[in-house]
Point group: C2
Chain length 338, copies 2
DNA sequence: CTAAACACCCAAAACGATTTGGGCAAGGCC
DNA sequence: GGCCTTGCCCAAATCGTTTTGGGTGTTTAG
C-alpha cells in the first residue's frame, strides 16, 4: 500500500543506461541517440515512471507552481466566503491561465503570519491580492527573490512596477456619477478598515469629490469581517445624522446587505429615500429585496491579467496574448432604480 | 538578485550547533535543551531563515499540499469559465478548508493526459471533480498510492469508498417534480456527453420516471463544450418533434441559455409554452430574459466536504467538524413561473 | 562503586532528480 | 600516423532537509 514509485534509477537500470541519460532524454538537455531515447522511453512506460516534481524542483529550484495569496480571505471560515464572488472567480481565472502554460496554481497562506505554513516560498512566483499598506509580504518576497505580482497597489509604495491596475479611482467616479445621476446629492461612504488600495483610494476620491461639490463628507469605517450587527449599527448611525444622506456607497457586500436590511426595517424606502450601491457583487445582493446595484469588478479579467503578468516575469520568452483591461462597470439593480 | 536563501546549515553555524539540532528544534522531533532552542531560534530569526518546503517535502514525502483536478475545466480557456459558478466556488471552499488545517490547495492538470505536467503526483492527496467512467486518473492515483477523494462517483466503479455524494438522483427527482408541479407533462432532457455521474444518473433517472409515467422520453446529447450553435440546434430539434415537449431540463448553463434564446427567437413563450430548468447556476441565467430556474448545487458545501474527507484520510487524528450534507435545492426563477 | 538510565547533541546517509566535467570511440584533417 | 572534432554516454557532486544510529557526559539505581 505504501507508495512504491519507480525512480529515474529504476528506469536507467531497465534501459541499461545511466540515470544521467534518462534525465537527458526527458529534459532534452544532453545529447542522446534516438535509439537510446526509445529504449529509455519504453522502460519508463513499462515502469509507469514519471519524474518526481519535488525532487526536480529541489535541484532546479523551479517547481512549476504559482502561488496565490488571497489576503482578506486567509483565516476566513469557508462559510464566510460563501457569499463573496470576487475571490473564487479571480482564482479560477488565474488558475486556468497558469495551467494553460504548464503551471499549477496553489492557494497559499500568507507566510509572514507567525505560525503559518511557508508553502508560499516554494512557489516560483506569487500573486497577492490585495496588498495592504507597506506590506510585509511584499518585503519578504523581495528579500527572498521571489517574483511577485500585486493586484491593486501597495498604497505606501505606489511605484512598484509589478502591479495589476484595479482602477479604483475610475470605479469610484462611476459609482458617484451614477448616484448623482439618480439624484443623490450627499452620499455617504461605508468602507472597510484594511489599508488596501481599494478602500483607501475610494475614500480619498470620495472626499475629493465631496469637497469639490461643497458637500460635507460622511465616512463610516466598518471592519471587513465585522459581524452583521456592525453593518446594522452603521445604518442607524447614518439615519441619526443631522443631515441624513440620500445615498450610500458600501464597499463590501456584507455591509451593503446589512445597511439595506436595516433601512427597510426602519421604514426607509430604498432607493426612493436612500439609494445604495455596493462595491462588489455577491449572491445575496442579487436576491436581496430590493436587489442591490453593484460594481462588476471583473475578477476573471483581473485573475487572467495577474497570472499573465507573473508568467511573463517567470518566462520572458513566453508568448501571452495581451488582455485588454476593461475595468469595472456597474450592474444596475433595484437599489438605485428611481 | 538571485535567490540567496539561508539554509539550515547557515543557521546551525551561526548558532554553533549541528544541522540536526536545528531541524530538531523546528520539528520538535529530537530532544533539544531550551537554551539551545533559544539560540537556534535567534539565529534563524537573524538570518530570516525559513525551512525549504520542497527539500523537506522530498525527504518526508509529504508536501503539505492538496491537489484539485477540475475535470471538465482543464484545458478550458479562462473566458469559457467566466460564466460557470460551480468550479470557482467549489475550489474556494476546498481551499479555505485546506488552509485552515495547514494545507495549501493546488489546482493541477490531469496528469494522465500525455503532455501535461505531473504536478499532481507531488500532492499529498488529490480531489477529483468529476471523475469520468472508468477513470484513468483514479487508476493512476491508486497505482501510485496517492490518496484521493472523488466528487461524484465513477459510474463504472460505484463501490469506491472515497466519494463525496452529489445526490444526482435526488436532484433529478426534485427538478422533475417541480416541472410536474407547474404542469409539465412530457419534459425533454438536454444532457452533456461526458460519462460523469451527474449526466449519466440524471439521464437514467429521467428515463425511469418517464417510463413509469408512460411518457416517451426525449433525450438530446450535446457536448459540454460545444459552441453555442449546438444548443440552438438542439432547441430547433425539440421544436420539430411530432409531440413537442412542454418542458426542458438542461444540465449546463450554456445549453439552457442557448435553448431559451432560440425558443424566444422562435416566438415560443417561456415558461408558458415550454418551461425550462437548468442543472447548474451561472451569471447569464440570472440576467437572462426570462431568468432561468436552476438547481443550486451548493458547491461550497461540496468543496468543504471533499477537502474534509481527504484531510481525514491524510491525518486521521485531525478533528474536523462534520459537515451536514444538504443537497441541491431549486432556485425558482422566471423560466418556470407559470 | 558499577551499571544502567537519561539528556543532549552530532555525523552521515538518505530522498530523487539535475548538472558538471569528463571519458571513450569513431571519423576528419593535415 | 598524430591531432582534433564530434557524438554519445557516465560518475559523482549537488539541491536542503530529515532520520538513523550512535557518542558524549551526568544522574540515578542497585
Amino acid at each position: 500500500m505504501r507508495r512504491q514509485r519507480s525512480t529515474i534509477r529504476d528506469v536507467a537500470r531497465r534501459a541499461g543506461v545511466s540515470p544521467t541519460t534518462v534525465s537527458h532524454t526527458f529534459s532534452g538537455n544532453g545529447v542522446v541517440s534516438p535509439e537510446t531515447q526509445a529504449r529509455v522511453r519504453a522502460a519508463a512506460a513499462a515502469l509507469g515512471y514519471h519524474p518526481d516534481v519535488v525532487a526536480s524542483g529541489l535541484r532546479r529550484s523551479r517547481l512549476g507552481v504559482i502561488g496565490l495569496v488571497l489576503r482578506p480571505a486567509v483565516g476566513a471560515e469557508p462559510a464566510e466566503l460563501a457569499d463573496v464572488d470576487y475571490f473564487p472567480r479571480f482564482a479560477g481565472a488565474a488558475a486556468l491561465t497558469s495551467l494553460a502554460h504548464g503551471y499549477a496554481l496553489m492557494l497559499v497562506a500568507d507566510p509572514t503570519v507567525p505560525g503559518a505554513p511557508v508553502t508560499a516560498y516554494a512557489c516560483d512566483g506569487i500573486i497577492v491580492t490585495d496588498p495592504v499598506a507597506d506590506d510585509p509580504l511584499t518585503a519578504a518576497m523581495r528579500a527572498s527573490g521571489t517574483p511577485y505580482t500585486l493586484v491593486g497597489a501597495d498604497i505606501d509604495d505606489p511605484d512598484d512596477e509589478h502591479v495589476v491596475d484595479i482602477a479604483t479611482v475610475l470605479i469610484a467616479d462611476r459609482v458617484l456619477d451614477h448616484l448623482a445621476d439618480v439624484g443623490v446629492e450627499h452620499p455617504a461612504l461605508v468602507v472597510g478598515t484594511e489599508p488596501i488600495e481599494w478602500s483607501v483610494l475610494t475614500e480619498r476620491r470620495y472626499r475629493e469629490r465631496m469637497q469639490a461639490a461643497g458637500v460635507e463628507p460622511v465616512v463610516l469605517r466598518v471592519p471587513e469581517r465585522a459581524p452583521r450587527e456592525a453593518a446594522l449599527a452603521a445604518a442607524d448611525e447614518l439615519l441619526a445624522l443631522p443631515e441624513r444622506p440620500d445615498g450610500v456607497y458600501c464597499m463590501t457586500s456584507d455591509h451593503a446587505r446589512g445597511v439595506v436590511d436595516r433601512f427597510v426595517e426602519r421604514g426607509i424606502r430604498v432607493p426612493d429615500d436612500i439609494a445604495v450601491v455596493c462595491g462588489s457583487d455577491a449572491e445575496s445582493l442579487r436576491s436581496a429585496v430590493p436587489t442591490i446595484t453593484v460594481v462588476d469588478l471583473q475578477p476573471e479579467a483581473l485573475g487572467r491579467q495577474a497570472a499573465a503578468a507573473l508568467l511573463r516575469r517567470l518566462e520572458p520568452e513566453l508568448s501571452l496574448s495581451p488582455v485588454a483591461p476593461e475595468h469595472g462597470t456597474l450592474i444596475l439593480r433595484g437599489s438605485t432604480m428611481r
